[in-house]
Amino acid sequence: MDSSVHPLPAAPAASRPGGGQRVLVGHPRRGIAAAVRRVLTGMGVRYVDVAADAGGLLAAVEAEPPDLVIIDRALLRGDESLIETLRAVIGRGELPILILGRFASLAERRAVMAAGATDLIARPLTGAELAARLRGHLENRLLNRSLQEVIRSLQTFHTGAVQRMQLARDMQLDLLPDEALRTGIERRYGVRLDSHFESSSELGGDIWGARPLDDDRFAVFLCDFTGHGVAAALNTFRLHALLEKIDLPGDNPAEMLGAINRLLVGLLPESQFAAMLYAVVDTAADRLTYATAGAPKPIIGVPDCPLRVGESVGLPLGVSMKASYRNRSVEFPPGAFLFLFSDALFEARDWEGRPFGYPGILDLVRLCGPQGGAPAVGGEGGLADLLDRYFAVMPRPLADDLTALWLTRTVPRSG
């Protein structure tokens, strides 16, 4: 199996300028070519190839790409196309091409540079000057190559990390109710269930769910673990596994929270816990029963009644074995709605750094919610509209994970 060592990008092998680098010298006169070679050897460059004409130069470049090319002006014969050809062969990359010689005019220097030369080395110059110029270019070349290796290795690491994170994110989204479950509940119980799930980073600490209980009743819950990111996300997987695999009193919210709490105490690290609201909707009795564990107060709308802020009192899950929870029961007839959300919705800060605030949420619900028992705005439910208005004034990404559920009991059509 994999070792537990974190796979950090490997550092490029260190090497020193000159030693392992290859320099190609193009010069028609053997005497001067030999002088340049001596300078290079004196600098510690071990691999020096010499070409006496353009054909030899191109053949040498193709045989073994050099780290630096020095071409005497005499080899160009007043025609810069050799530089262009070289660039075409080796690419526009970082390979330095230096032109050595006496330049007759500014126009010639300009033409040589325009053709793709990296630098001009004007003669006459001493061996020491030539060495200094070449050393600068070789060091640059070495640094560029090292940098490219680092960048390549970081890119590889990043690509892998993004792929792994995407896989984890897909797994997290799979914890949430799928379309089939959602539409199944909507049809069976005559409700509409809109949801929004938005992590502040790739993974988040929120989870919500819905499950049928019997022909008249179903449950919904929203749970928000402290923090966000990978650590909080791991806790959502814990909770999901507990809910899936252990038989819990799902039709009694207070007992349900008590049971989950006892499972989480000792399982979560000391400063981590979860805020959760668990609700059961009874469509025969027209009642909503819910219990909360440190969760934000739910907002409940009943036709022809003022908007109601549900009570919420209860220790967050995972803090104390002694915690107990209590059920609250409210009327929930057709046309009523329940709006649940994680604290990010009102704790998030606007451009000026001010929290949005719970009263702001209430104002949005009044604007976007069903009016006087009529179906939700545009028949599309208030959630999309509410979030549009919210994000018109709130900057993304939010600092915390946001989950919002909007559950509406639909009104049976008369006739």
Partner: protein
């Protein structure tokens, strides 16, 4: 967040100001260290001037309480106001850490 500390005999009074959030983690852990190691018998966290607390801040209170329990230090909260009071009430933190409202 910033804070001031006053020691009266074995009782330490710490006045918290500003916001108790994840950003306060490093500072608050120094407070927790003091509860554990300074040989005090009681610690009062004064919340009059604390404007805001989030779930990460509540997590720090849990840590402080657990540390105090282990070190036999009596930890209490004092005078939470506004949003801080509401968070403490919603989360029933006064049932695990005595709170003087």
């Amino acid at each position: 967040m910033n804070y001031t500390v006053r020691n009266l005999g074995g009782v330490r009074e710490i006045e918290l100001r500003g916001q108790l959030t994840f950003e306060a983690n490093d500072d608050f852990r120094k407070i927790i260290d003091g509860i554990e190691k300074d040989g005090i018998t009681a610690c009062v966290l004064g919340l009059d001037s604390l404007d805001f607390i989030d779930s990460a801040g509540l997590g720090l209170l849990v840590l402080a309480n657990n540390t105090a329990n282990r070190a036999n230090v009596r930890l209490t909260l004092k005078h939470p106001r506004g949003q801080v009071r509401e968070m403490i009430e919603i989360s029933e933190f006064h049932t695990i850490i005595p709170c003087d409202f």
